[in-house]
Amino acid sequence: MITAQRSSSGSSHSPRSPSSQPYLSISVTDPVKLGNGVQAYISYRVITKTNFPEYQGPEKIVIRRYSDFVWLRDRLFEKYKGVFIPPLPEKSAVEKFRFSAEFIELRRQALDVFVNRIALHHELQQSEDLRTFLQADEETMERLRSQETGIFKKKPADLMQIFKEVQTKVSDVVLGKEKPVEESNPEYEKLKNYIFELENHLSEAQKHAYRLVKRHRELGQSLSDFGKAVKLLGACEGDALGKAFSDLGAKAETLSVRLQKEAHQLLMNFEEPLKDYVRAVQSIKATIAERANAFRHQCELAETIKLKEINLDKLMLTRSDKVGEAELEYRELKLESEEATRRFENIVRLMNEEMVRFQDQKTLDMGIAFHEFAKGQARLANNIADAWRSLLPKLEACSS
């Protein structure tokens, strides 16, 4: 749970009472498997503690499932274009069936982080949809969920397609293949390149991190097998040597357990943050796509307006009676165009702000992950050293 601080900018709500700091703190807990077979899903308990005046009281508990979180993400994506919406854990159709404890815990953790990041964000935390998500009863949620037709409602395959298109478009522009309806902003180009390359690097890092988790498990397993074999050998030998073998085997088995534990820690505190980082970058890509759409829309309208202008002039010259109509259309279009421009510029502004926040946040997130990683490895190695060394006195005694 991370306590959110309200920012003072852009806030049009009632003045805060000086006696208490505003907070919005959420926890996603208690995963419970419901339903059967293909229909099975996990439900989570979402507990909200807040003193925000818009909320119904200091504490509220609701039951939510993964698709509710998806709904929230989609709504935010629609409403807050330009903001990097916090990423959700993958919708894994396959793993769901197996529902391993580890998978459930990882998902729960990721959902908790997701919703708290929203609560921390000075714009997103004001969202009405957030309030709905945190407070509405389950029937309402279900109704809302089934109405959703946002971008993310599309199947994962479609989503991938959209991302790919964004990617191709960017690289096409970079490679000079396709000509505009793209911004010709060198700084922005750099940013886009950066994001795409970053994703590649991070994916690779995450892959290796995952492999490292596996290696820990494998080493643990082989130590366990080795320990057992050594114990059997000891039983064969008998007397002092046999005891020495036996002790060694037992130690190996102890360390095996320790390694499995560390593997789990590694997964939760190192690999998952890397995965989260990758997701965050993918979310930025989605925003990049939105910006491209907004830009294109703006350009199209600008084109249309030019045509309308020409047409209007023509009509005025010919003193046609269609002038009035045309003028009206023109004025409407002008408004639309201004609106589109506003929207686009808003996205640009937000993106710039978001990038700063993003970089800061990621430095912090990774710093923590690195720290935990290093601490974990050091602790593990020390445990291993201590365990083995503890055998030495007896081994010494054997040979004397």
Partner: protein
């Protein structure tokens, strides 16, 4: 079995290097910044078991700087003194482990990771098991090197077709039975087979180290160079093992093999052709019941194919009788102690095989860990470079710096894992070695069984001869004055009985001798195995602990460097 080469040698070597180590550690840490010179002469303390008493006599958490290189001296743990902590990267292994290729954006890291010169000693491919031979200061050191192609001389029908490889076998020794203290010969693999066969004949009942396989298939399939190198290593191991066997090292066969220039003057086979002829000639006579003079000494050797077909048949019949009839054979294996030991050996072999397999898996897992850790490190290094190059915000540079610390640590840890593994391999190799030795135990036990079988065969032969003689005597006594042909037959039979009696005595003597050999060898095996396994365990444990500490220090440093984030995390 296997013994360490030169105990005295190695001890002197250690002391010298230890002094160097001490002086280095006490030196100003700035010395260590150039990693290449720090511990270059320090040889691998872990691979020599002769060291173990040095290592263990030192206190675990040592205050003095001359503490055990394996057990990290306190300065290792003191990461307020980063120079000392950081650079104890590798003072042990050859540079191949240090070949981490990445662009030197940080000289420090490069120096740390570049590693260190390999120590000057010659590579010791085999485990040095530290049992000294009977007298502690004598030694035989054998090296196999310099493979060369040679032509088979004129005898071949197809000119120039037959080539073979010879190896240079160099011996250094101070044992008096040899002519001189250093000498070399060239031998081919066939010669080794001959040596092995001759030893098997002369030293029945002993645990004779098994020779390298002929590898007929592999020699065709493998790259020639690889195969030759593999064989060279195997031959060296084999000869060294022979040289540490207390009895075999003094054998004439080995002496001849190591010293006599030119063609190896040992019979290449037990002259199968002539023996077959002998056997074939004798067979009809025997089949018709005529007596045959069998030289007692011939009895001593086990019946071999072609050698004495009839004897083979008889012994086979006897063993079948032993098995099926279940009647107690005339001389039973009544040594319960031996049977128990045999059972134990069988168990031991099984457990050794299992442990050996699991040891291999462990080694593989350690290797994988090291590899993946290294790959992770390299990926982060790439990321660091990327962020630095593309940095717009300061937070990116900070992140890049954090990442670099992690990356460097991961690469270092990766090298440690690989070094750890190299040593683990050497230690656990003891398991493989003893597993291989079980072959020679089998051989010795089967020497015993075949000797026993020979005795049993002769005894039942005798009893049937006696009963034939009795029958003949009974028959001829009924005829007054005797039956000339029968009397002659009885005389011949009696002669055969006498000869067979002699043979029986020889066979029993041989059997007893082999039994005694078995016994002393079993004792030796137990004794040496105990010592070797104990050393293996100690070495393994020290190795694991030592490297775990090094790895811990590497990560502790990063934890320290990122400790600011600890306060931030919830």
């Amino acid at each position: 079995m296997m013994g360490s080469e030169n105990q005295g040698f190695e001890e002197a070597h250690i002391d010298a290097s230890r002094e160097e180590m001490e002086s280095l550690v006490l030196d100003d840490p700035s010395n260590n910044s150039n990693g290449t010179k720090s511990f270059s002469h320090h040889r691998s303390a872990m691979s020599s078991l002769a060291d173990s008493h040095h290592l263990l006599s030192r206190p675990m958490v040592a205050a003095p700087a001359d503490s055990d290189p394996l057990l990290a001296p306190p300065s290792f743990r003191d990461f307020r003194n980063p120079n000392v902590a950081a650079d104890n990267s590798s003072y042990i292994e050859p540079p191949s482990y240090a070949d981490v290729i990445f662009s030197p954006f940080d000289e420090n890291a490069v120096h740390e990771i570049d590693g260190v010169d390999s120590p000057g000693r010659s590579s010791d491919s085999s485990v040095s098991l530290s049992r000294s031979p009977s007298s502690s200061s004598d030694y035989i050191k054998i090296t196999v090197s310099n493979p060369q192609k040679e032509q088979e001389t004129s005898n071949s029908l197809v000119p120039g077709s037959n080539t073979y490889i010879t190896y240079l076998i160099t011996t250094r020794t101070n044992i008096t039975g040899f002519n001189g203290s250093e000498f070399s010969v060239r031998r081919r693999f066939k010669d080794v087979v001959t040596l092995s066969d001759r030893l098997a004949e002369s030293y029945r009942g002993f645990f004779i180290p098994p020779r390298p396989d002929k590898n007929l298939v592999e020699s065709q399939v493998m790259q020639k160079q690889e195969f030759v190198e593999q064989r060279r290593v195997a031959l060296e191991k084999y000869l060294r093992r022979l040289a540490t066997h207390p009895v075999i090292r003094k054998s004439d066969e080995l002496k001849v093999f190591l010293q006599v220039q030119g063609k190896l003057p040992l019979p290449t086979s037990t002259d199968v052709a002539s023996r077959m002829l002998d056997g074939a000639v004798k067979l009809p006579k025997q089949l018709f019941g005529e007596s045959v003079v069998v030289a007692p000494e011939e009895v001593v050797q086990p019946a071999k194919g072609g050698r004495d077909l009839l004897r083979l048949f008889k012994e086979l019949r006897q063993s079948v009788t032993n098995d099926w009839v279940g009647s107690k054979p005339p001389v039973a294996e009544e040594d319960k102690e031996f049977l128990e030991k045999k059972g134990r050996m069988h168990d031991l072999e099984q457990q050794l095989s299992n442990a050996s397999q699991q040891a291999e898996s462990l080694v593989k897992a350690q290797q994988d860990m090291g590899e993946t850790m290294g790959e992770l490190g390299l990926t982060f290094i790439k990321l660091t470079k990327f962020e630095n190059e593309e940095a717009i915000f300061n937070s990116q540079r900070v992140r890049a710096a954090d990442m670099k610390n992690v990356a460097t640590a991961a690469v270092k840890a990766s090298r440690f894992y690989r070094e750890l593994n190299a040593h683990t391999v050497k230690h656990l190799d003891t398991l493989h070695e003893y597993l291989g030795l079980m072959l020679s135990v089998h051989g010795a036990f089967s020497d015993r069984s075949s000797a026993l079988l020979t005795v049993q065969t002769l005894i039942s032969e005798l009893s049937s001869l006696h009963s034939r003689a009795e029958k003949l005597e009974a028959a001829s006594s009924k005829i007054f004055g005797g039956d000339k042909s029968r009397i002659r037959k009885i005389e011949e039979l009696k002669e055969t009985i006498r000869v067979t009696e002699d043979a029986k005595h020889v066979a029993i003597r041989e059997y007893e001798r082999i039994k005694e050999n078995n016994r002393t060898e079993l004792e030796r095996l137990d004794r040496e195995r105990h010592a070797d396994f104990l050393n293996m365990l100690k070495g393994f444990v020290l190795n694991q602990a030592g490297y775990a500490e090094k790895i811990a220090n590497v990560w502790a440093k990063v934890a320290e460097e990122t400790s600011a984030y600890a306060r931030e995390s919830t």
